[in-house]
């Protein structure tokens, strides 16, 4: 089944709003920002299906118009079911100048014999901010279903004005390449990657220390944090619980979201490093 989801976020009178949306089954969309005090748009992607079934094709397209701020949320873990042919997901996110997009979805749970292929492409213009994460689990761990899926591949590409600036090609084929191997999952059952990228002028470096401290508090994980060639960083983590990694990424998101470097660019606070630390 082909399922579509299209979101266009607009900006009007200093506020972001849902300018247009289109979705087919099982997608639904909820505006969850009613109690927020800021002027950003908060949307939750909901689904009437518990996950992707064989031959499912998700086609998601998100566009942020100039100056828009959008925080997307997922409703629940994304399950990938037993498949023959496999399921796919295409996600295209376009950020116009001065817009911010932040998305920390729930972990993906690839069940036994699932086959998934995802492709996420993000286009950034000048002065944009992006936070995007992905968490992949070994499967239904509590049922003892560990690394029984057939294959999982998710390719993420981020372009800044036509130029590829970040690429993450996650491929897991547990039967062919044991995830326990050194250099891979190394005995852990969950992996997560969070990317933060800013095409404005204020250095993302100011976040590094804070993020490092935040993640360091997690027990039983192995993680690394590194600056990108462009203005941003990558956080990679291995752990043993989906909830832990998800909450951890959420905390990183929460730490970064209110301190939008783009907004502050015109605000009164000009100091860089202490900015974040003071507020969180």
């Amino acid at each position: 089944m082909i399922s579509q989801l299209t979101i266009i976020a607009g900006f009007r009178e200093e506020k972001s709003y849902l300018k247009d949306a289109y979705f087919t089954r099982p997608f639904r969309l909820a505006n969850v920002g009613q109690y927020k005090t800021d002027e950003a748009l908060y949307l939750m992607v909901m689904s009437s299906s518990p996950g992707l079934l064989d031959k499912d094709q998700y086609d998601i397209s998100i566009k942020l118009e100039v100056s828009t701020r959008l925080q997307l949320q997922s409703q629940a873990y994304q399950r990938l079911y037993n498949m023959q042919t496999g399921a796919t997901q295409k996600m295209m996110i376009a950020l116009e100048a001065g817009s911010s997009f932040s998305y920390v979805p729930h972990p993906v749970v690839p069940h036994q014999n699932s086959k998934f292929k995802g492709h996420t492409v993000i286009y950034l213009q000048q002065n944009c901010e992006l936070l995007l994460s992905e968490i992949i689990t070994c499967g239904r761990k509590h049922s003892g279903e560990i690394f029984r899926f057939t294959s999982f591949q998710n390719l993420t590409e981020i372009y800044y004005e036509q130029k590829l600036v970040f690429k993450d090609n996650v491929l897991l084929q547990p039967q062919q390449a044991p995830p326990g191997t050194i250099g891979q999952w190394e005995g852990y059952t969950h992996q997560g990657t969070l990317v933060y990228l800013n095409t404005g002028e204020r250095p993302a470096q100011v976040y590094l220390d804070k993020v490092q401290q935040l993640v360091k508090e997690e027990n039983g994980v192995s993680f690394g944090l590194s600056e990108m060639a462009v203005n941003g960083f990558v956080l990679r983590i291995l752990g043993n619980g989906g909830e832990q990694l998800f909450n951890c990424f959420k905390r990183v998101q929460e730490a970064l979201w209110p301190n939008n470097l783009l907004l502050k660019a015109n605000g009164p606070a000009k100091s860089k490093a202490p900015l974040l630390i003071q507020q969180v």
Binding site: Q153, L155, E157, I158, K163, L164, V165, F166, K167, D168, N169, V170, L171, A177, T181, I182, G183, Q184, W185, E186, Q191, T193, L208, D209, Q212, S222, F223, G224, L225, S226, E227, M228, A229, V234, R236, I237, L238
Partner: protein, 229 residues
């Protein structure tokens, strides 16, 4: 007999080229510190996984792609491959090491030869459109010096293997003979990976090795200015 290219091949892949070693020593250092890599067996595992799961899909794959782009005289493609390398190498130290090696390799070989392709690539680096990754420069020169792709790849793998063995011998440390024993046993794998790289699907290029990435990042963080200040 086809040895006309052999001296060029030996030169291009010479482990003593003054460019710094092709190394993933940063990640290795973290593993050694944590005790995960601590003897000949674990060193062998580390090197094999690095070759089989990382280098094959990343640096070696880019050697081949750059070689093919050079064969098509496709400068734009070479620059795009270079950008892709930068985009893929998320641990900063690994990315910077790759660029440092590449720029030095270009510096050495450019002085001796004149090739339009290299000039265009150099210009792109000067204009910061490209970075100058080692694997791209290696593939480019391999083609320009008439080295067959297969031989170039095998030499690239050998060079990577010997670099890792040297690092293991130093960091763990291991005896020289233990290091040589590891290297000997790798020969069939180097052959196999060479064949596999030539047939690698484009969509598999750049496959991430999260454990290696994390360990490289950890090394970087421990010694970064962030913590020193």
């Amino acid at each position: 007999m086809g040895s006309h290219y052999l001296s060029s091949l030996l030169h291009l892949s010479d482990p003593t080229l003054p460019i710094g070693g092709f190394s993933h020593s940063n990640g290795l250092e973290s593993y050694v510190q944590q005790g995960t890599v601590h003897d000949a067996v674990s060193a062998d595992n580390f090197i094999r996984s690095m070759l089989r799961n990382n280098i094959k899909y990343n640096d070696a794959a880019f050697v081949r792609l750059a070689y093919e782009a050079a064969a098509c005289q496709d400068v734009a493609e070479i620059i795009q491959l270079d950008q892709e390398c930068t985009a893929l190498k998320s641990p900063k130290e690994i990315r910077q090491a790759s660029i440092k090696l590449g720029v030095r390799l270009l510096k050495i070989f450019n002085r001796q030869t004149e090739h339009q392709l290299v000039q265009h690539y150099d210009t792109a680096i000067f204009e910061k459109e490209a970075a100058g990754h080692y694997c791209i420069a290696f593939g480019l020169y391999a083609f320009l010096m008439d080295i067959p792709a297969k031989e170039a790849l095998l030499a690239f793998y050998y060079n990577a293997a010997v670099g890792m063995v040297t690092n293991c011998v130093k960091l763990i440390p291991l005896g020289q003979l233990d290091g040589q024993a590891i290297l000997f046993r790798l020969h069939p794998l180097l052959q196999q990976l060479t064949e596999e790289t030539l047939e690698l699907k484009r969509e598999l290029v750049g496959v991430c090795n999260i454990g290696f990435d994390i360990h490289c990042m950890q090394h970087e963080h421990l010694y970064s200015r962030l913590y020193m200040s």
